[in-house]
Amino acid sequence: MPADPNANYTNSALRFGDVDPYPQRLVGEFIGTVVSNHWVNDEYKHVILKVHPQALKAYAGQMFHLLCPSPDGAEVWMRRPMSVYRVDKDAGHVEFLYKCEGRGTRGMSMLAPGDDFNITGPLGHGFKLDLSWRYIVVLGRGVGLATLAPLSQLAAENKVGVTAILSARNPGVVMSKDLFEGLGAKTITVFDSDGSSTVENVGKILEDLIAEKKADAFFTCGSNRLLTLMQRLGKKHDIPGQVAMEQIMVCGFGACYVCMRTFEAGGQRVLRRVCRDGPVFNMQEAVGW
């Protein structure tokens, strides 16, 4: 079991079963209990936490700020923001899908069933679903798919059809296909290995969906290239869109102004806080990175 990163720090994080002394809170600091933490493929893991019911308010596109255990004995000083992969209200679970890449996620990968994991959330503004839409298109690559997966659930619950275009390096590392299909989404997979993931080909798939009237709104996360493509086609065909953005983050509450990104709104360039003004933004206002 990794060392408890909270051993020397003060907090009153809520565990499952605790009475909340401040029940009107919108955001909580929680200690989840790891139910499972297994590999999805060579790079990604899926962690399931049993949490206090206050944490189950999270909806698609919102994030938690994770206090990751150390992978190497040295301190991990800041939390890591991560969008929620799934909320299972019946089981009382919050789930995350993550790529084991940096120190924080490598520390997370060491969590074992029964371990504590301190998470703060839900944070930010998530995806908004317009109930006049009949079909939406979600386009994601890599860990961006983890952010888009709960949107599919939200759409399914509201009888909105979903086409999910899943982009990956090769068929071996495609993720969440079963999850999307289980929620009734039609999935289209594209790969670098056979050349089907090029902007040209994905653009053609999107154009076809537009022609079939299966694209009332666009959603994306995780790829600058795919964001730019959806922005271009969205503008051309007047299709609204939303994008979930990332940035290095400290407080998560909009107080510290670390997580700024540039947007274009009303002909002006503006800075917005990813943590509080986002992380989901109007796709046409986003400026690529």
Partner: protein, 315 residues
Amino acid sequence: MVDLSVKIGAITLQNPVQPASGAFSWEYNDVIDLNRLGALVAKTICREPRLGNPTPRMAETEAGIIQSIGLPGKGIDYFIAHIVPEYAKFTPPLVVSCSSESIEDFAALAEELSVPDVDVIEANISCPTRNATGGNFAMHETYTRDCITAMRARTKKPLWVKLSPNAGDIVSIAKAAEDAGADALVIANTFLSLKIRTDNFRPALGNKFGGLVSPALKPIVLRMVYQVAKQVKIPIIGIGGVTKAEDVVEYMLAGATAVGIGYAGFRNPTALITIIDDLEAWCDERGIKKVTELIGAVRDQDMETDTLVAASEGV
């Protein structure tokens, strides 16, 4: 039960725990009950709207984070019209931090911020990435005296002066601030720092330099508070590395009347409330009736030390 209230000049705080400027906003009401804090401390405001520094604005180091935000904000007019009313919804006194690049403008800000819902003006004359002649006046005794004298002449509000840990002799600067009419001293700001990435040879922060924020600052800032407290009569708010109730006690023993907290609230957003609860329990367990009994109560006059024997065996 212990009385946790402390007085800083004319202002009474219900307890000695407050957030540090820049690490807090009213938006923390989403997660904690702000009415429990000793004071509310707004992010430093400047006259002009400012975008702030280029990203990345934060980087982790081996011993804490360095950050350089660049005092972003929508300017003083927006602040008074829209931000002050957000804080006015809560009961603790509001401390408004301000910064400028000139002494004249610092003085004008002090006057313009003297509105009913602002309880204290904090002169942030120690932003570490500002120039010593252009806003980081706490690097020098003379600039500090001139700036605080000018501000004092323009406001009757309590005036707290935030000092720099980057100055060579913080005691003489603290005395200059006191002489110029400061009601309290805030010790200290962040430590000017640098991180260079070894993968691309570039500074890790968009602004190159940043301020170090870390529990590692506590022993250094505690030393500064101790030294300054011996030389001034006005109250001190200690800021640097507080992560638990015992740290508050330690700062008070060194001579602080209150503490500010930054990092701990970033790491654990419920930390400030828990530290207040823990401080109360700590005092109650020891039969301390008033938390003010701790101020300056360090036992440095009757230290129990070993007497070294010159001719010890085996040496």
